[in-house]
């Protein structure tokens, strides 16, 4: 009799556990909240009139995707890249070059050449042959997305296969970004150098905003599905204990390369849309400073959460746009302080801290449910404690 009752309890408890642990891929609150935010941003052209705010919205969405790409590799897999802007920047430059060359076909420069003005200043009389294919816009888009992804694959194949990660990876990616920046400045005849590429017909208006919004939503859903799938679990285990993951038979390097490529693809998409939306690309968009800035958006929002990068990018960038004007130099000090504060006080970021709080609460409630239901559940309770409350270890090694 006693035995049967216990079995029933176990069944009941495990059902409760399942209900709690198997959260749906995309929970209801996320669907409702996400739809609300998407509606709020997407409907701006109807209720808002400020063109500046409209352009900011598009920009911020690109920043959010960029931050998400960092979150995928850093927050979920533990690879800190300080050169993610390389992929963003290449995507942006390819698109900007393509748009610029198309623009000059109809808008001749000062001296009558139908080539981008920076080429004319540097003594070129026609577009170099290796750049002419970029005139074809679909080809340019393919290039803008494929080249960074391929580059990321090469980088990953070289470094991750040899267990180069952590600090080494951070330093190498940092140098990568610095060198790309130097390259762009040095070869100004092809890249516009210090001035960057400006003055081309960019895409603005509500249709392109909706396009950016759609891509953003798609990427956030992809990220959520990816990180909550079986692959995502492996990625997290690579982050938390690489050695153990490897001993369990997972090819850690391949998982790292895969997620690095996905991340580079996202960054490149963000860069390409950014160039098309803003109409200005400069060498700063490929540099180490920009990369690290994006890392801090992710950290503020909450790394290891999918919504975090979105929140972080909007909050930090928003604050920058509204405060840096009035605070000028002091804004930099605030940014510096933010780096320190996020590390010392809130390593989980805003969303991460909220999620933790919610998790604790949910666990407390489910405990009450268990205790109220029936007596004699000590054994199950033990099981429950061991199985359902994994110690949250979110330190990056």
């Amino acid at each position: 009799m006693q035995q049967i009752r216990t079995d029933a309890h176990i069944r009941q408890v495990s059902r409760t556990v399942r209900n709690i642990r198997h959260t749906p891929m995309i929970p209801l609150w996320a669907i409702i909240g996400g739809t609300a935010i998407v509606a709020l941003i997407g409907a701006y052209p109807y209720y808002g009139t400020d063109a500046y705010v409209l352009s900011l919205l598009g920009k911020f969405l690109c920043y959010a995707i960029f931050a998400l790409s960092i979150d995928l590799i850093w927050g979920f897999t533990g690879i800190l890249s300080l050169g993610q802007a390389v992929y963003f920047g290449i995507g942006a430059y390819v698109i900007a070059l393509s748009l610029k060359m198309n623009y000059t076909l109809t808008h001749a420069t000062r001296y009558g050449h139908k080539i981008p003005d920076f080429m004319e200043w540097n003594g070129l009389t026609e577009v170099p042959h290796f750049m002419t294919p970029l005139m074809n816009k679909p080809f340019a888009v393919v290039c803008a997305l494929a080249v960074p992804t391929l580059l990321a694959f090469l980088f990953g194949a070289i470094t991750f296969k040899r267990h180069i990660y952590g600090v080494y990876c951070a330093v190498i990616t940092l140098a990568e970004a610095l060198i790309l920046q130097d390259f762009i400045i040095e070869y100004q005849a092809y890249t516009g150098g210090f001035n960057g590429i400006t003055d081309y017909s960019n895409y603005s208006g509500k249709w392109f905003l909706w396009f950016i919004l759609a891509v953003t939503v798609a990427f956030f859903i992809i990220a959520r599905v990816l990180t909550h799938s079986r692959v995502g679990t492996v990625l997290k285990s690579v982050r938390d204990n690489e050695l153990r993951a490897e001993f369990m038979g997972y090819n850690v390097a391949n998982y790292r390369i895969f997620v690095f490529c996905v991340s580079a693809f996202m960054a490149a998409t963000a860069g390409a849309m950014y160039a098309a939306w803003v109409g200005l690309v400069s060498f700063l968009d490929t540099g180490p400073v920009y990369s690290i800035e994006a890392v801090i958006w992710t950290a503020v929002g909450g790394r290891g959460t999918v919504v975090g990068p979105f929140v972080g990018a909007f909050l930090v960038k928003g604050a920058e746009f509204f405060l840096s004007g009035t605070l000028a130099e002091w804004w930099q000090i605030i940014v510096g302080g933010l780096f320190i504060a996020v590390v010392l006080i809130m390593p989980d970021g805003i969303v991460g801290s909220l999620a933790k709080w919610a998790r604790h609460r949910r666990r407390a409630i489910s405990r009450e449910v268990l205790e109220d239901s029936e007596p004699n559940v000590e054994a199950c309770q033990l099981d429950w404690d061991a199985g359902a409350t994994p110690k949250v270890q979110e330190k990056t090694r």
Binding site: I158, A170, A175, G336, F339, P347
Partner: protein, 291 residues
């Protein structure tokens, strides 16, 4: 003629190597022993250079500026360690973020104090001009001085690490932190002193490098990145790694820049580094840990 230009390039390369050694030494100690990724290293060099500028205004020269910068920046390092880094030793990748924040703050504060304009620090009188080593190409005295300083600092660090009581503890902590702690070494104190000493060395680097570069708030960052590349190539936790890394990077960069141009030179050196660490992932003199 070809021979002559090759030798000149090699000599120029030596001074680049010296600069790299000077800049990377402080970082090698902090990174190698305390395990802190100090992204503010470039800014500490920058503060050292500004100290040299202030000393220069007050009538001193580089020789006076070096110890002053060591003390000023060493104390600054102490403040950073006590205020921030002591809480996050166990999270190396996050020290990177925090010290990046420190770097931004230092840059801004220095800009607020000294203004955005560039400062120029002259070399001491006896080190001005140059001498003719071969043919008619002059080799500046100051470059020779840099090589001497690099050698002296290297010797100083060797003495501190291998001949003093502190150095013994440092090596013990480097090898096995937990057991050193059990044997009664105050590991937190060792970390603190090492951070302080490494920062001081960064200050000296700034004071020495100030005359060859215009002093500005953003001057430090390239040095920091170069220093990290030196460590990645040479290996962390071994002082010979600093020499090997600086030697390879400095000479390769000078020669490749001479053959192609600066940017191509840097790109090739970067690829070279990636290839090398692909072969030896922990650097040439890397400390292989048994786990």
């Amino acid at each position: 003629m070809v021979m002559q230009s090759i030798i000149t390039q090699l000599l120029n390369g030596f001074s680049v190597v010296a600069i790299l050694v000077i800049a990377a030494l402080g970082l090698a100690i902090i990174f190698g022993v305390a395990g802190v990724i100090n992204m503010a290293h470039g800014e500490l060099i920058m503060v050292g250079a500004y100290t040299a500028a202030v000393v220069g205004k007050a009538g001193g020269n580089t020789f006076i500026a070096m110890p002053v910068a060591f003390i000023v920046v060493g104390l600054l390092g102490l403040a950073i360690e006590r205020g921030i880094i002591q809480w996050i030793y166990d999270r190396p990748l996050e020290t990177l973020l925090a010290t990046w924040g420190v770097g931004i703050i230092l840059q801004t504060v220095i800009k607020l104090i000294f203004g955005p304009e560039l400062y120029y620090v002259g070399a001491p009188k006896i080190l001005r001009g140059g001498f003719h080593l071969i043919g008619r190409l002059p080799f500046p005295w100051y470059r020779l001085f840099l090589i001497v300083v690099a050698a002296c600092l290297m010797a100083l660090v060797f003495v501190v690490i291998f001949k003093t009581n502190l150095g013994l503890k440092v090596r013990a902590v480097r090898r096995n932190r937990a057991i050193s702690g059990c044997l009664g070494i105050d590991t937190a104190r060792v970390d603190m002193l090492i951070f302080c000493f490494g920062s001081g060395l960064a200050g000296v680097a700034g004071a020495v490098l100030a005359p060859i570069k215009s002093v500005s708030t953003t001057m430090g960052f390239p040095y920091a990145v170069d220093s990290y590349m030196v460590l990645v190539l040479g290996g962390v936790g071994n002082l010979w790694g600093v020499v090997a890394g600086s030697g390879l990077i400095g000479e390769a960069e000078t020669i490749l820049s001479f053959i192609f141009n600066n940017v191509i030179g840097r790109l090739l050196v970067f690829l070279f580094i990636v290839v090398i660490i692909r072969i030896v992932p922990r650097g040439i003199f890397g400390y292989s840990e048994r786990q």
